[in-house]
């Protein structure tokens, strides 16, 4: 338990170290999620168009 607290304490630099890692996590995850959502929307749009063309 103490080892864990010490780990998160980062020798007094907790704010700087974990802020840096937090920002990195947010930016890296956002860069994956945004293109995934875009790909899903695009595929749905293309499928809708295909259905419209089939049933005039």
């Amino acid at each position: 338990m103490d080892a864990l607290r010490e780990f998160f304490h980062m020798g007094g630099y907790a704010f700087y170290v974990w802020s840096a890692y937090g920002v990195a996590l947010v930016v890296l995850v956002a860069n994956v999620v945004v293109p995934m959502m875009r790909a899903r929307d695009l595929r749905a749009r293309l499928a809708r168009q295909a259905r419209l063309e089939r049933s005039p």
């Binding site: 630099y13 840096a20 890692y21 920002v23 293109p35 875009r38």
Partner: protein
């Protein structure tokens, strides 16, 4: 080899081949990043001068390296698109810009969070920091051109010219710590003699650098695939694909 490259250059084959590669790339990235983080945050000892604060290096340095690497790739892809009119090169250049901007942003923010406890300030207008900030604005310029110009071919051409002009900034960033006196410390790893960093820190750093590189390739392919579908939406193979789903 050439026939393979030629096939890969066609949007349809690119879409198929990249789809098969993505899961492998994503899992390798995740594994490398997990190993790098464990090595960097848990196994590596504290630095004898900087204590625990140096652990920011494991994201700061890979981000900074990638900010330069992605820019060179983006400018090179832009040049290929400009000269040989290869659609896929335009797509790669366009998809690289937001990723490069993200890495540059991360390098600046993590560097700032490292600078505060070590130098006593979040920001200083010295050569390394200022030239890296200019890099961020170059990425924003490329993204802005893509967003502002409706016609994709024109947008790609304009963005490629801007990216190529901005290449001068790359050696300036790299050598800034040697050309000008600066708060930023000199290179640790890319020196001609042995790197001045212990193996227990170097290994996780290189693992993280490799993970960031593969992360870039993974997300680049994801973005490029959507871009290809969008640009080719009226072609026969995309219609066929859309009917299938």
């Amino acid at each position: 080899m050439w026939t393979f490259l030629h096939k890969l250059g066609s949007p349809r084959h690119f879409y198929r081949i990249s789809g098969g590669m993505l899961p492998w790339l994503a899992w390798t990235t995740a594994l490398l990043m997990a190993a790098g983080l464990y090595g960097g945050l848990v196994l590596a000892p504290p630095d004898y001068q900087q204590g625990e604060s140096y652990r920011i290096i494991f994201i700061h340095v890979p981000s900074a390296w990638m900010s330069l690497f992605v820019y060179v790739i983006m400018a090179a892809a832009g040049a290929v698109g400009l000269v040989w009119r290869i659609k896929l090169a335009d797509v790669m250049a366009a998809a690289s810009a937001p990723l490069g901007a993200s890495f540059t942003f991360l390098a600046l923010v993590t560097g700032s969070l490292w600078g505060k406890p070590m130098w006593g300030t979040y920001w200083v207008w010295d050569a390394r920091l200022t030239s890296e900030l200019v890099l961020l604005f170059l990425y924003f310029g490329v993204m802005g051109l893509h967003a502002a110009i409706e016609d994709k071919r024109t947008a790609s051409r304009a963005a490629a010219v801007l990216a190529l002009v901005g290449v001068v900034n790359i050696p300036i960033i790299h050598y800034s710590v040697e050309w000008w006196s600066t708060l930023h410390q000199g290179p640790t790893v890319t020196k001609f003699d042995a790197p001045s960093i212990h193996l227990s820190m170097l290994v996780p750093l290189l693992l993280m650098a490799l993970a960031f590189k593969l992360y870039y390739v993974t997300v680049l392919l994801m973005r490029a695939r959507s871009e290809v579908l969008e640009r080719e939406r009226s072609s026969a193979w995309v219609r066929e694909l859309a009917r299938g789903t």
